[in-house]
Chain length 280, copies 2
């Protein structure tokens, strides 16, 4: 399978793995965000992931590939299913396509991004509603919710996509991956590779490890930092005990506590693990 195929499979394995407390999985839906929306999102993402899989001077840029993937992903009725997953997967696929899926290789992909990639990133927000934090107080013109209206501000400031991620890194774990060599991604991928048993069980354990490690960014945006820390603490306490994890899964879905950023990191880790040869 190509890196683009592995990325698509990562999206599917991520949503299928269960239990993933607070997220849609093989056993749990939200009323308007259901399993089938993620399946359709993974199918629609493929063309953009194949663009990310190209290399050389005529290859589409990372920004173009991401915007195309998000446009395809959003062709289903559930809304935003995999925006954050794709934000991590696209530079990882490009790194793999260049033959260097490592912290250094992916950091090179990040550092090669341009102002035009940043503009494509902003355009991607027009395809789907994404829950995000407010922009920094001194940069209201860079609010991603402005979509392409923010492009003149990017141009004026000369911000590349790497720069945009650096500005968001404080409050967003996905942006931190971009500027920090995808440290948690590679770390969780190694845990999946070193684990044993069926892939979906390995994925569920990797999700819980990530959730127990740091407060989830999406939970922090939607419910505040205290709830995000409570979720982290509960995940840490439940880890390793299937009954407690299942109870947590029911509790979080009930409360609408959706650790979506942890799911993004999990998908990214599955991709790296698949590239490293983990069997399915």
């Amino acid at each position: 399978m190509s890196p683009a195929d592995h990325a698509q499979l990562a999206l599917l394995l991520e949503v299928a793995a269960t239990p993933k407390p607070g997220n849609v999985d093989r056993e749990r839906d939200y009323p308007n965000l259901r399993f089938e929306h993620f399946l359709a999102g993974a199918v629609g993402s493929a063309a953009g992931l194949r663009m990310a899989n190209e290399r050389g001077p005529t290859a589409p840029s990372v920004g173009e590939a991401f915007e195309r993937a998000v446009a395809g992903m959003s062709q289903q009725d559930g809304g935003n299913t995999q925006f954050g997953c794709l934000l991590l997967l696209v530079p990882l696929v490009r790194g793999a396509a260049r033959g260097d899926l490592s912290p250094a290789g992916v950091t090179e992909v990040v550092e090669d991004t341009t102002v035009e990639d940043a503009a494509d990133f902003y355009r991607a927000f027009e395809h789907v509603d994404v829950a995000v934090d407010d922009p920094p107080a001194d940069a209201p013109d860079l609010d991603v919710r402005r979509g392409s209206d923010a492009i003149p501000a990017l141009d004026e400031r000369g911000l590349t996509l790497a720069d945009v991620m650096a500005l968001s890194a404080d409050g967003d774990a996905n942006a931190r991956e971009w500027v920090g060599g995808f440290e948690r991604t590679f770390d969780a991928a190694a845990a999946v590779v070193d684990d044993d048993g069926p892939i979906l069980d390995r994925v569920a354990r990797a999700f819980l490890k990530l959730l127990a490690e740091e407060p989830d960014s999406l939970v922090a945006v939607e419910h505040g930092g205290e709830v995000a820390e409570e979720v982290r603490r509960k995940a840490e306490a439940a880890r390793g005990d299937p009954e407690s994890v299942a109870a947590l899964a029911d509790e979080f879905v009930e409360r609408g506590v959706n650790p979506g950023t942890t799911a993004d990191l999990t998908a990214a880790a599955i991709f790296v693990a698949l590239e490293r040869g983990v069997p399915v």
Copy 2:
């Protein structure tokens, strides 16, 4: 989404829909044939489905597209996940690519197949073990389990892929679709479109309708015609009562009764329903 995308999504929605008595679904696995194998099979099938989606004089043949789809599908550890689904989907996708997804349009695709398409069909059996019936007593040289060794016999007899399907139509419901204008496929697709509620519920109901309608070919091959008829009768009796259907699902998995041909027909029907605009 393109017809190739809809075909891939059909594979995913088919396996996700539950309960589908006797089959792997969102809630049930067999020990060595699990949900993740079907996800990987759907990812691997995509390149062949895109070949089926081409049109015009330079398009790959139906046989080439099918063989490529099966080769990609079989890159997972579960064995044969979607051979039969692909056998139905490939000509349907080609019909859609030609702009005529109708019994007449797909029959034209079937009638255009050549001896070389038949050879590709036989080559596809080398990628994966497929449970099949014995060949007709007067044609042991055409046993599909011979793979490409059977190609000289095809050449000698001048058999196209349509001819091969006609020879199998008695015992194989998929071959009957090929030679009969995909009657049950289009009929079940109409039921999915006319139904309401979430797509996965519609799919589960369509599966049960198909299972209640005719004995499943794979069950007949693996367990004999009497068991296949018993399964049909039980499906007919359980239809419409969720508790009975769930009990049947548990019973069939327990007995290893796997109505795989009905799953193939269901995937084909989902594809047509998606092309007709059923929402996801």
